[in-house]
Structures are given as structure tokens and as C-alpha cells.
Symmetry: D3
Subunit: 253 residues, 6 copies
Amino acid sequence: MQLALSSWPEVEAYLARSTGIVIPIGSMEQHGPNGLIGTDTLCPNIIAREAADEAGFLLAPPFNVGNAQHHLGFPGTITLRPSTLIAAMQDWISSLVRHGFRDLYFLNGHGGNIAPVTTAFSEYYAAWSLRGEPCPVRLKLQNWWELPGVMALCREIFPVGEGMHATASEVSVTYYGYPGSVKRVEMTPKIAPIAGFTDAADYRANFPDGRIGSDPSQATPDKGARIVAAAKTALISEVSAFFGANDRLEAHG
Amino acid sequence: MQLALSSWPEVEAYLARSTGIVIPIGSMEQHGPNGLIGTDTLCPNIIAREAADEAGFLLAPPFNVGNAQHHLGFPGTITLRPSTLIAAMQDWISSLVRHGFRDLYFLNGHGGNIAPVTTAFSEYYAAWSLRGEPCPVRLKLQNWWELPGVMALCREIFPVGEGMHATASEVSVTYYGYPGSVKRVEMTPKIAPIAGFTDAADYRANFPDGRIGSDPSQATPDKGARIVAAAKTALISEVSAFFGANDRLEAHG
Amino acid sequence: MQLALSSWPEVEAYLARSTGIVIPIGSMEQHGPNGLIGTDTLCPNIIAREAADEAGFLLAPPFNVGNAQHHLGFPGTITLRPSTLIAAMQDWISSLVRHGFRDLYFLNGHGGNIAPVTTAFSEYYAAWSLRGEPCPVRLKLQNWWELPGVMALCREIFPVGEGMHATASEVSVTYYGYPGSVKRVEMTPKIAPIAGFTDAADYRANFPDGRIGSDPSQATPDKGARIVAAAKTALISEVSAFFGANDRLEAHG
Amino acid sequence: MQLALSSWPEVEAYLARSTGIVIPIGSMEQHGPNGLIGTDTLCPNIIAREAADEAGFLLAPPFNVGNAQHHLGFPGTITLRPSTLIAAMQDWISSLVRHGFRDLYFLNGHGGNIAPVTTAFSEYYAAWSLRGEPCPVRLKLQNWWELPGVMALCREIFPVGEGMHATASEVSVTYYGYPGSVKRVEMTPKIAPIAGFTDAADYRANFPDGRIGSDPSQATPDKGARIVAAAKTALISEVSAFFGANDRLEAHG
Amino acid sequence: MQLALSSWPEVEAYLARSTGIVIPIGSMEQHGPNGLIGTDTLCPNIIAREAADEAGFLLAPPFNVGNAQHHLGFPGTITLRPSTLIAAMQDWISSLVRHGFRDLYFLNGHGGNIAPVTTAFSEYYAAWSLRGEPCPVRLKLQNWWELPGVMALCREIFPVGEGMHATASEVSVTYYGYPGSVKRVEMTPKIAPIAGFTDAADYRANFPDGRIGSDPSQATPDKGARIVAAAKTALISEVSAFFGANDRLEAHG
Amino acid sequence: MQLALSSWPEVEAYLARSTGIVIPIGSMEQHGPNGLIGTDTLCPNIIAREAADEAGFLLAPPFNVGNAQHHLGFPGTITLRPSTLIAAMQDWISSLVRHGFRDLYFLNGHGGNIAPVTTAFSEYYAAWSLRGEPCPVRLKLQNWWELPGVMALCREIFPVGEGMHATASEVSVTYYGYPGSVKRVEMTPKIAPIAGFTDAADYRANFPDGRIGSDPSQATPDKGARIVAAAKTALISEVSAFFGANDRLEAHG
Ligand code: NI
Ligand code: NI
Ligand code: NI
Ligand code: NI
Ligand code: NI
Ligand code: NI
């Protein structure tokens, strides 16, 4: 059940069954020579949409631009300053809590979001803690590639060249979701370098084509399908546990 | 050409042809008994995607949550505080300008965004004006229903009950884009009341089911198709003029 | 009754009769070769002061600096960044609401304020809407030139060269209010150009002497007197309706 | 020469003679049983206007709402949060500096502004200091009652009951400037108490009618005239010295 | 009793005896050729620690970086922008108030903090005043050199060259507290100049070695010991009066 | 070499040798029945001070209050809202960079700081990345307990009851640094529970005495000495590598 495709009476009915919601959160940033700029938003959205259809939980629209300052050296990247991201998340959370949502599960597609999203959670809790009132809301951040079993599968499929950015797995997931956007590009070098980075200039100097440690020319829709299937199952299991025993989710007929 | 589905080398190549980009901007808010919560984001996105495919301009991902405080009385609505919206738009604009984009055309789906987006533009220009440096960027906001010819067509299709919120037209556009989400609901009263409003409580008191002046039970995918076709043509014409004579857009093959 | 010239016991007594207040809001910005920099603040203040004297409503001091970034290419212009304007308006509103004011009528003198003031209203309402508490306050923005009958009169007096900025009408209103500041300047060209604009540099390039579409050399105190008389009457009527039936305003003896 | 009553070419001409400007800064706050809510804005404005007429310096419109949180227990008081005041002052200063003003002299009417205005100056300088660029601007805050000779005169005129808030002197200055607003009220007790205070509730508890240590029933327009005359002379002398030897001010003909 | 060296049960027990706390507040900024960069934080901390040991009140960790923009021309200086300082103080105050502290006594070591800290107090009170709720908290700022009797002693010890920044007294206090950091440097000129200043560049131009009006080569640990002893006694007396009759402080055994 | 105990000429001389600095960053928060509220600030400060003495690098004063909202249920805890922490870190970093520091190594004592400090780094880099200028500064965050070899030693010393908050190790380190503050308290239960948490109320409900998974009654100064010795050596090695080959640190004579 997708929030964007639901009417308010449908959401009202859902809230009578469950106070949980899943929110994909990603980034618009370069993903190497053959990866899509939307990769980090598309991946959790693809996985969560299938899971929502199967398990009946409510899926919010994606928080589609994240913290991507280090990718700004490559055209197409869009970032929020972390302080803006924190402000925007307060508003998303406050809006949902206003309606009665209590269990907010953010499925994340971008490593660079982990620190600012965790910080945004602290900012939200801090308002309650400083007032001395118990906060009735639980906020959870889960990276899709850390869903139980997923990373093991990715490494099984890509024993070499999975990498850390523009990974073979995430590109496969987007190719599965958007087969019309498959791009065939030779990688030079075959496997990208691995290093640290600071700002956008430093990142581009270290990683001239944007990849870190990966060979995403291995990506195919079929491999993406396997990853999505595994991630979907794990997500349903995690979400069911997180939302709690009282919630009664209904699968999409 | 969609930014989210492009690679950075593709965006780099695009920038050699054009410095223009179209950004759908909408809202997540109730749209009456049978309208989708994502309506205001979906409409400009549906129209702009078809136009981008045909005319070859670059389409950004939607700025999908806007200023919807007055709809918070209905479950599912998500708002940014206007000050957050302004901050987030500075970041989107600054990111795109950083890459060389100069002509940013925001296609808007929500009346409540007009003031804050216009204000966000002023905020951006003000930084240049206070520094005393000429701003090389042009920002334009266009409501999709005010594209040349569109409103006349909507009134022709819906001579009665087009309305102001949860309009028959916008619901039709989303039904065209998402036929699986068509919802058949009897409207009571047939045509919703018309009034002013302030905050969410006032809005809900004045408009118990969320509609203003509309009868969206008239909405169908076919009617939406006609509106989208007209809007697409008008948008291509407007965007071409806005981007300027030097830009060389290439239609999607 | 002017707030700035009242004592607190007088305001307390007023609040027992009415919870309404009128707040002029304007700008400090260039108004062409013969217009006053304070025009947009002076106009609503002149009109509202006469109306307040006649009808007995309470008049706040003017919010005298607004959103004028595009005029910064001309010496003397002062602007608030829109985000500052929004913050300042929260404080004005919160202060007045704290005392029991509930109906705040902003009489505006500057087109560039419309979007940010409307946005500031949304910011105020959003705080209530997100908390889920009904907001007891009504905020209204009215441009003085859009008071019923005023624009028709302006066009009657100035059939040619009324214009959009540094208009013949607004200059006349200030000349009526400040006859010692009448400035006689030849306009070249007689009627200023009309165009769009973005930042201050763009504005100055498009409008070398600051005017848009106007010939304010036609302005005289007498013409201003006619406009003020019409605007005053319309304002009293609007304010009376806005404040509501229970308010008992007392004319200035 | 008043900025609000000048045209931009007049300001441009002024800037060729002088880069200095005087900005009255005050407050909208209760001033006891017979004092005007605008007292703190009116006083520096009255004094500076006469001085500007005589000496030819440029006078900005007043920064008319200041830091008055402690007076919010009395109807009519309007405050900026200090953080808003600081933001607004950055914008006023940046606007003026953009035009070439370099010597900004703030004539203050409100003790509660001293700390936040001084802090706003630090905020402005800090931006230059952190960038490591020399700031070309000088900012000065002067309380009108501390202009050389003024306080001595006030104490001579009011040997008893001058007080600290709603002083006999400041009420006299406003009565001189606005003789139509003279209010005759018996004071009980004759002389108000003296104490410290924190927030608005504490202030009202300590000072039931708003005065601190004063008997402003002694105020008359004539006494105000004497104070204004002394303050005007002192201000001209101070401003001339502050603006520097190169400035050529021209008295109002 | 130092907060940083206490356990939470000890703080809980303290709160049953007293709701008062002392918070040293200082700066990290150059203090001339032989003064320590931490001088302004160290001085109030040294004094307050001895007083806390003797009198048994609770001592918070120092707010160790303050408003020092004007010293940024000298290596080692760290500043908060004043707006950051205000935000940080809201958090410190809110945290302490959350636990039941009601009487917060800030012992200040830096003149440049007076305005922003006072402003931060107004910001805190303003939140209560705008809500219309009585604030239960009292905030006090005291400069250590203005504790009763201290400045007279400093002038007695240093009849010449006490100065205004990098004073002989404050350097002595730090030499007493940190005898291992005594630095012997010849001063040229013997006594530093006196002038005003704006930003960091202006400050450095006016005061080439950082001192204002002082000869801190006179500083010794012994002289510092005398000053600390006097300040400690005065602080205990002031704090006892400020905390109120009901508090039962217990000296450190 | 401690910044707070240095003069500016000493810092200037240091900058000729090295552009690196170490900044302890911690928290003021409850650390169970026998742990010090300052534990997380004291630990990195104790370790870094010994290392700075031995290796000659410059040590900043501690950033002594961090993100501790979840501990506010226990008296004595002070937190910054994460957004304030981010703002304050921008100022610290900008100040140091202004002087020529380029390699900033933050030695952290608090798990709750990791996300907001990392986010603050992104905020700093984002300003450069959005401007499109290469950032010359490197920012590093290192938790003291993750210095090479330290955690292994802690587990060797405390095979049972090391825990996650109010750990036996961190309490030992503070007991070593402040032997006068050793507190002997019986722990009930012997080993504290392990769970997740959200806000302060949730934390206190889950961990009634503040500990997570630890038995800090095992802490002694001697054990702390061993940990500090290991951490000091590891820190010197890490800092030397981070600062780079060109830096010439000089040990404290
Ligand atoms: Ni990715
Ligand atoms: Ni809509
Ligand atoms: Ni105008
Ligand atoms: Ni006053
Ligand atoms: Ni000092
Ligand atoms: Ni700890």
C-alpha cells in the first residue's frame, strides 16, 4: 500500500490496523559510468514496494535527496546540506506522528545518510527529552544491504568487484527495477580504487569515474531480481517485528 | 531524459547541449475521498516525463513534499514547514548550479507551494543581490494547470465540479498515470463547498471530506489522457522558449 | 488609534472592545527618479492612519522593511532576506496574539512582499497544524491598491503610465502624505519599459532608472488625496467585515 | 535628509559626499500609565530627525521593534526574539554596506536593545573575522540619553522621579514630538518601585503599572523640547566626529 | 562539588539541598605575549573551584569557548559566532532546568561575552514571555573582576599597567592556577595602547601584540593568589545570596 | 602542548612546525552509580594530554558538552541539540582553519557523538563542495576506545562486565586521572541490562541506574593507568601518521 497512491480515508483505515510506516530514504548522486544517479533512492523503493505489496504495510514516498556533498564533483548530483536534511526529517516525522504513526522504519539506500539521519533522530528525541516528556515514537534506520542475508548473497553473486560505491549489487537492483535504463560501459580500471575522501574535489581526485572498489559492469537485471527477492523477504520479516504484535497488516489483494 | 535514470557521463553530455532542467514540485496531501495523496507530485511528474521523453530535456526527480500544513487534519498528509522548504530549495538549486545548470524550470502541482517557492527564489537571488554579484541563474515557477490551453480544456471537460482542490482534472491526470489506483467513491455533497481557510483544524471544519468546490467522481483515465496530452505540448513549447535558442535538446530515441 | 501613540491601559481597553488590529507592511526600496524610497511603507501607513482615525481601529507601527532584494542595485534600498522576514513576522504575530489579538489584517504596500508574507502566514499556521491544535488566529494580507475600487480609480486618474513599479498612483499617495518631498524630475523615456527580472543586477539592467512601465512625473498631491480617500473608505469597510460583528470600534473623537 | 523621503538619485548623490548614516533603533513596549508604546522608537527618531535636518546627514527609517520580551505582560508590547533581531540587523547592515555606506551610527532608545544590538555587531564582524578579510565597516551604538550632556540635563529637570523605565524624560520627549498624545494620569505610587526582573511575568509582578523608579506625570512637551534641543546638538557633534573628516554633509536648505 | 567529577546520584542528592549551580564562562583567545589563550576560561574556573570546595555549591564544567571574533587575528583564538553561543546556551540552560535547577549563576571571564550572554538570557526568557507562562528560572551573569572588592584589589596590586585586555590581574590568576605555564616576556611598549576596535583585522592593527593598556609582565603566581582569595570570598557571599535562604550547601569535607 | 596554556606567539611558532591539532570531544552525562558525569570528556582529555606532552602536538581544549539527549533522565546531564553541536563545530573548525590549521583530529569519548560529529564534518565539507572549491582541510574522528590495541586490553582487564555505557574501562580511566573522585558503590544487578533506547524516558526505563551492560565497580586507578598508557602510545602513532611527514612535532621538554 503506497501512501502516494492512497486516499486519506484509506490511510485512516490503515491507521486503525497499524501505526507503522516504511519510508525509503536515498540520494541523487553519481554512481559511476553505468550506474543511475537515482540508485540510492531507487533501490530501497524497489525493495520496499514489493514488500509492501506482499505484506500490506504502508509505504511512504521516498525521501529522495540526501547527503551527497562528496559526489558534487560529478554532474547530476544533488545534495541537501546535513542541517537541511535534519530540518526536513523533523517535518516528515512530525507530520506522520500528528496522524498517529508511532513506528517509523526508514529503509536507507545511501551510506552517506547514516550519520545525518541518525542525527536527525537524535534531534527529534532531544525535543522530547529536553521537555521531559516521554516520546511515544520509535524511529529506525536500516540500510537495505544490511537486511539479514542480503550482503552474503551480494558477495556470493559478485565474489569480485562488489565494491563500496556504485556497487555491482545496487546497480543490478536498479537494472532489475528499470530494465530500460541498463547501460553497458567498459570499466577502466576493471575494479575501481579504494581510498578515503573528504569533500567533492577530494573525492573526484581519488575516484576519477566515481566508483569505489567496484566493477558494476557485472550488473544485470537478473542478478538484481535475486537480490530484491532476498531483501524483500528480509524486510517483511524485520518490519513485522518492528511494528509489533498488535498491528494487523493486510496484503495487497 | 530523467536525471534519476541517467549516469553522470550522460548528464555531462547533456550539459554540453543545454543548461536547462525541469523540476516537478508537488505535495503529499489529502485529495478528497477518491484522490491520491500524491496527486500534486504525480501530476507534474506525469506531464513532464512525457514531455521530456518527447522533447529531450532533462527531468529532475520530483521535489515531492511541499507546503501542506492546512491539510494536516487528514491522515497521510506530510508537510515541510515553509522555512524548511526554502532551505531545501536553496540546496537543490545550489547543487544544480554547481554543475552548470542555469535555467531551472519548476513545474508545480500545488497551489500552496506558489508563495513559498516564489519566496525560495527570492532567498536565492537575495544572496547574489546582497553580495552585489550578478546572478547567472534564472528560476521559473509554472503551475501545470496554467500552462497555455490547459485550464480551458479542463473546464471544457468538466463544465461543472472542476473545483479548486481535489479537482476533477488533477484526479483524472493521476488516474491516467496510475490506472490501478482508480477509486470509485460517491461524493456527498456532489459538489464540495467553497470557502477560505487558515490552519489544518479550520480547513477540516470547512471541508469535511477534503475537497474544495469539486466533484472528482467525474475523473477517469481517459479524461486525464486528454489533459496530459495538452499539458505536454504546452510544456514542451514553454520549456523550449525558456531554455533559449542555444540549447539543443534531443528527443528520446 | 495608533499603537505607537497609545499607552498600555488604552490598548487593554481596546482589547475589551475588539481583538482586531491593522498592520501596515511595506518596503524601503528605490521608486524611480522622483519616487520616495519609503513609498511602499508610507502608502499603507497613510491610508490606514486616516482610516484608523475615522473608524477607531487599532493601527500597529509599520513593518517598514520588506523583501526588496531585486532593488538592491539602487542606492538606499534595504531588504530583509525572506527567511528573516518570516522569522520577524512570527515574532510580531506571536506578540500580538499573546495579548489577545485574534484578527490581524496586514495592509501591504509592496508586491514583492506578497509571497514571503503569505509564506510567513503558512509558517505560523504550520506550528499549530503540526501540533494538532486549532489556531485561534486569522491572518489576512491585503494590498492597498487592490482594495475595492482603488485600482479602477488609479486607472481613471492615470489612463497612461500608471505602470507596475514606481507607479504614478503610489508616488501620488506619498506626495499627498509628504508634500514637502515632492520631486519634479523629467522621465526618460516618458514611460518606462516592462519586463521580467531576477536579481538586483538583472533588475537594474532591465530598468535603468528603476521604474517599470510607469510615468510617475504625473504624480501630484491632489491625485494622491483622491486615491487615499477611496482607499480609506474601502479599508474601513473591509476591516469592519474582517474584525467581525462583535467588535465595537470607536472613532477617534 | 530622510532616507524614506529621498529618491535613489538623491541617495546616490549623498554617497558621493558621505558614507555615513544614522539609524534610530527602538522598541514597541509599554511605558507605564501615561507613556506611549512607541516611546523608545519615537525618542531617537525625533532627536535624529531634527539633527539630520540641521546637519544634513542621512537618516534611515527606524528599526522600530526591538528586544522587549520582559514587557510582554502589558498589552501592546511587540518583541523580536533576540536571535531574530540579530538576523534582521545583518540584513539592514548588509544592504547599506552594499551601497557603499561604511559608518553606521545606531541611535538607540531602549536599554533592552544594548546587549542584542552589540551582539548583532559582533555577528557582523565575525563573518569578516572568520573569513580573514578586513571589515571596511564601522558600527556604533549610542543611547540617546547618554549623548554628552543629556543625562545631566534630565536630572536637572527631574531631580526626583526620573527613574529607569517610562522615565519622565523620555515621556517628555514623546510629548514634545506628539503633543496630541499627551496623557494625564495620576501615578500610584507617585514614584514606582525599583527592582530586577527576568521574564514578562516577573516584570509585571514587580512593576504592576509598568514603570521602574519613575514619576512620568511630570512630563510635559516643554521639558521634552529642552531635552531634544540638547540631544540634537550633542548628536550632531558626535555624528560629525564619527563620520570622519572627509564627509561633506549639507544642511537641509 | 564539581559536576564533571560527580555521579548522578550525587547530583540528585545535591538538588534536594539546592537548586543553584555556578557555571564558569570564558573564551579561548590570545592574551598578549605572555598570557594564556585559555585565560578567560581559566580565571573564573580557578576562582569558582576554590569557592565550590569551600562553600559546597555545585560547579558546572566551563562554557569554554565564547565570543572572540575580534581576537581571530592572533593564532590560537577560537570563537563561536554569537548566534551559535546563544543557541548553545539555550541547550545548557534547558538541560539544567530539566533536572530542577532554578538559579543559574554564570561567572564570566571575558568582556566580549557580556552582550551575547545577556542576549542569550533574553532569548531564554522570551520563549516563556511569548508563551505567556511565568518562567521559574533566574539567570545571572557576573564578571569575576566585578565581584565586590576585587577590582579595588587589582588596582592596589597593579597601580600602573593593569589594563583592559591581557591584564596583569588575569594573567596573575592563571599563573597562580598553572604555575608551570608562567612565561617571562619583555613587553614593548611597556604599557600597551588603548583604543577601540571592530573586527579581527582592526584589532590586530590597533594592538600589534594583543594587549590593551596593560603590562602583564608584572604578573606573578603570588599576586594571583591574593586576587583569587579575595574573589573566592566575594563569590561565596554572592552565590549564597543568589541561591536563596532555603538552599543548604555543604562544604567539601 | 596545550592550547589553553599557550600564548599566541607559541601557537604561531607551532604552526611553523605543524598544521595539525588534536581536539578532545566528549559529553556531560550520567555514567551510572559510580561514574563521573564528565567521564566522556575526561577520558580523551586525559589520554591526549599525556600524548601531547610526550609527542609535542598541540592539544585544544575539550569540546566538553556533546549529544546526550538520551541521558537527560538522570540529573546532571547536559546536552547540545545535535543542530547546535553542528553549528558550534563549524565555528571551532573555521576558527582553527583561519589560523592555518589543516589537519584536525577529534579524539572522541562518547558514542552518541559519532553521528552528529560526522554530520558536522559533512556540513563543513558541503560548504566547499557546493561552492566548487577544493577544501584544504582534513577532519578525522577517532573514538579513544577504538585506538589500535585499546579495546583488546580493556577486554583483557575486564573479561566480564566491561559493558557499553559506564564501562569499567572508562570509569577506570577517570579514576586514574582523578583519584580523588573514586566512588565505591555496590552495583545492583551486578551487570546492567543490555537493550536499545530512544529518548530520555525510554533510556531511564530500560536502564534504571544508567549503566548498559557494565559492572563499573571493578574500576580502579591502576587499571585506568594501564589503559591510558596503551591509548597514549596508539594515539601518538595515529596522530603522527595523520599530521603527515612534513610536520615536526617537539616533545615537551
Ligand atoms: Ni549507492
Ligand atoms: Ni492538488
Ligand atoms: Ni512601490
Ligand atoms: Ni523607554
Ligand atoms: Ni581576558
Ligand atoms: Ni561514556
